[in-house]
């Protein structure tokens, strides 16, 4: 279980122009839950994710993973970045990229080989191990990044707008891949996106953020049936209703602003 308690992040504290990115944010993610974080652009989503991942110290508040306070990158957590082309290492083959985080795991050679093969197969890239990331398409590269995160065998996967730079068809495929992997590996997923459809389609709960300085505007339950399907789920009246609801929740500050003017 992941608990984020009153996290606040101020950049350039003590300078003449401090910038408050995250004001006061609390959220809890239960085991095996799929939670999405959506918010207007510039809402400090990435900042928040970095604090949760232990990559950036928060100004105040705390993050707990299974009741242990997060002070550095936890062993039970893996990250998938939006920018796969910068997150994968071009001088390593696909296999070496996937093997990269296993340094910390102290596994035997055969165990590592099996893990690499297994995770690459599970993202549909069983034959691409000897290639270099830049020889693959964008969608395939992000699959490699996902395989690498899975090889790390995390309990929770943090994904920072992972599908923002792939085309729509690939995006739908990757969304379904993530749902399938979540079932297969039994992992918890915290998913940051600016795409409301995507958040509603994937999640058990959607956390709506306010514009920066960020806090939680609302948490929306998504009781859509699983397994989800790109066509069937999205034609459900409930899907349309929830999507509209989340949409209004994000746009509300702007609407009230225009209403005042």
């Amino acid at each position: 279980m992941l608990r984020v308690e009153h996290v606040k992040k101020v950049y350039g504290e003590g300078t003449r122009r401090p910038f408050e990115a995250v004001a006061d944010l609390s959220v809890t993610v239960s085991e095996h839950e799929f939670v999405s974080i959506v918010g207007p652009s510039g809402a400090g989503k990435t900042t928040l994710l970095k604090c949760i991942a232990g990559l950036l110290p928060q100004t105040s508040g705390a993050v707990y993973l299974d009741d242990e306070e997060v002070v550095g990158p936890p062993e039970k957590m893996a990250l998938v970045f939006q920018d796969y082309s910068r997150s994968l290492y071009p001088w390593m083959t696909v296999e070496d990229n996937v093997a990269f985080p296993l340094k910390r795991r102290k596994l035997g050679k055969t165990a590592v080989r099996e893990l690499i093969q297994d995770t690459l197969r599970s993202v549909g890239l069983g034959d691409a191990g000897a290639k270099y990331p830049w020889q693959l398409s964008g969608g395939m590269q992000q699959r490699v990044a996902i395989a690498r995160a899975l090889a790390y065998q995390p309990e929770i996967l943090l994904m920072d707008e992972p599908f923002a730079s792939v085309d729509a068809q690939t995006r739908a495929d990757l969304e379904d891949l993530v749902l399938a992997l979540r079932d297969r590996y039994g992992i918890t997923i915290l998913f940051v996106t600016h795409d409301i459809d995507e958040a509603v389609y994937l999640s058990d709960r959607v956390v709506v953020l306010t514009p920066s300085p960020t806090s939680v505007a609302e948490i929306v339950d998504i009781p859509l049936p699983r397994p989800r399907d790109q066509v069937e789920t999205k034609e459900l009246p409930d899907f349309a209703r929830l999507r509209a609801y989340v949409w209004r929740s994000i746009k509300r500050p702007e609407q009230s602003a225009t209403a005042l003017a």
Partner: protein, 267 residues
């Protein structure tokens, strides 16, 4: 039909691409030959190309060229090697520690533009006129390009690449070896390529000016004894060595950086 035509055109173009450099060299050499033979220039100072090359061939044939070539290459190799041994760790260190970078910036910016040749008197004072002076000068000059390239290469590592490694709990020494250095390698390679040329220039300079044994000294001796053709032959030899070393460094670079966008199309 159209495809066949396109292929013919492609073949013709690639043949032309290979032939043109050779044609260019042939024209240049002929012009040289003609200018001298026709009396356009004084053959005493600029003998025809054929006799320059002839004297070079003679030197190769009787084997007398190999010792000075070896001495010059020794200066190059030791100068470049020492420069790498100094600049790579130092550049990595300064590039990794921001405070050190800020503190050393003005020193580096001041020392770097000092022409190595200006240090010749110092070299003589410290080491005399032999191999040590040659290596000192070559090392001093060759250190800067590698140092600066390493420094900026290490500083320019993509933050996402670093955060990825940190998020997987990869410790600093491993990050240095597996992320920082590979990603700085294109910069470092450029630095080494520049320094290789610089080390050769300074070796020959030291031989010319100080009389340290090597091709530069041989060129000087040939000039003093009025063997103009031999002098030119040796100058051509230094040029060929420079070209050869550049090809060698480029080959190593291509192997090490086969993954880099600048090299991908060639493999």
């Amino acid at each position: 039909m159209a495809a066949g035509e396109a292929r013919t055109r492609h073949v013709a173009r690639s043949l032309l691409g290979r032939a043109l450099p050779v044609v260019g060299v042939a024209i240049a050499v002929s012009l040289f030959e003609f200018a001298s033979r026709s009396g356009l220039v004084d053959a005493r100072f600029l003998p025809p190309a054929s006799s320059m090359l002839g004297s070079l061939v003679d030197q190769v044939a009787d084997g007398s060229i190999w010792q000075p070539v070896g001495q010059t290459l020794q200066g190059w190799a030791l100068g470049l090697g020492l420069a790498m041994a100094i600049a790579l760790p130092l550049g990595t260190l300064i590039g990794s520690v921001f405070l050190l970078f800020m503190a050393t910036r003005s020193i580096v910016e001041f020392l770097r533009p000092v022409p190595s040749v200006a240090l010749i008197p110092l070299a003589v004072l410290l080491f005399g006129a032999g191999l040590e002076s040659k290596i000192f000068l070559a090392t001093f000059a060759a250190t800067w390009p590698i140092l600066l390239q390493t420094l900026y290469g290490v500083r320019d590592v993509d933050p996402v690449a670093m955060e990825t490694a940190r998020s997987f709990g990869i410790k600093a020494p491993q990050r240095l070896r597996r992320v920082v250095l590979p990603s700085a390698l294109p910069y470092i390679a450029t630095g080494v390529r520049i320094s290789s040329a610089v080390a050769l220039i300074l070796s020959v300079t030291a031989e010319l000016v100080l009389g340290a044994p090597g091709l530069g000294q041989e060129i000087n001796i040939a000039r003093q004894s009025g063997a103009v053709e031999l002098m030119y032959g040796l100058i051509i030899a230094t040029g060929l060595i420079g070209w050869g070393l550049n090809v060698l460094v480029a080959l190593v670079e291509r192997r090490l950086l086969h993954w880099h966008p600048s090299q991908r199309e060639r493999t």
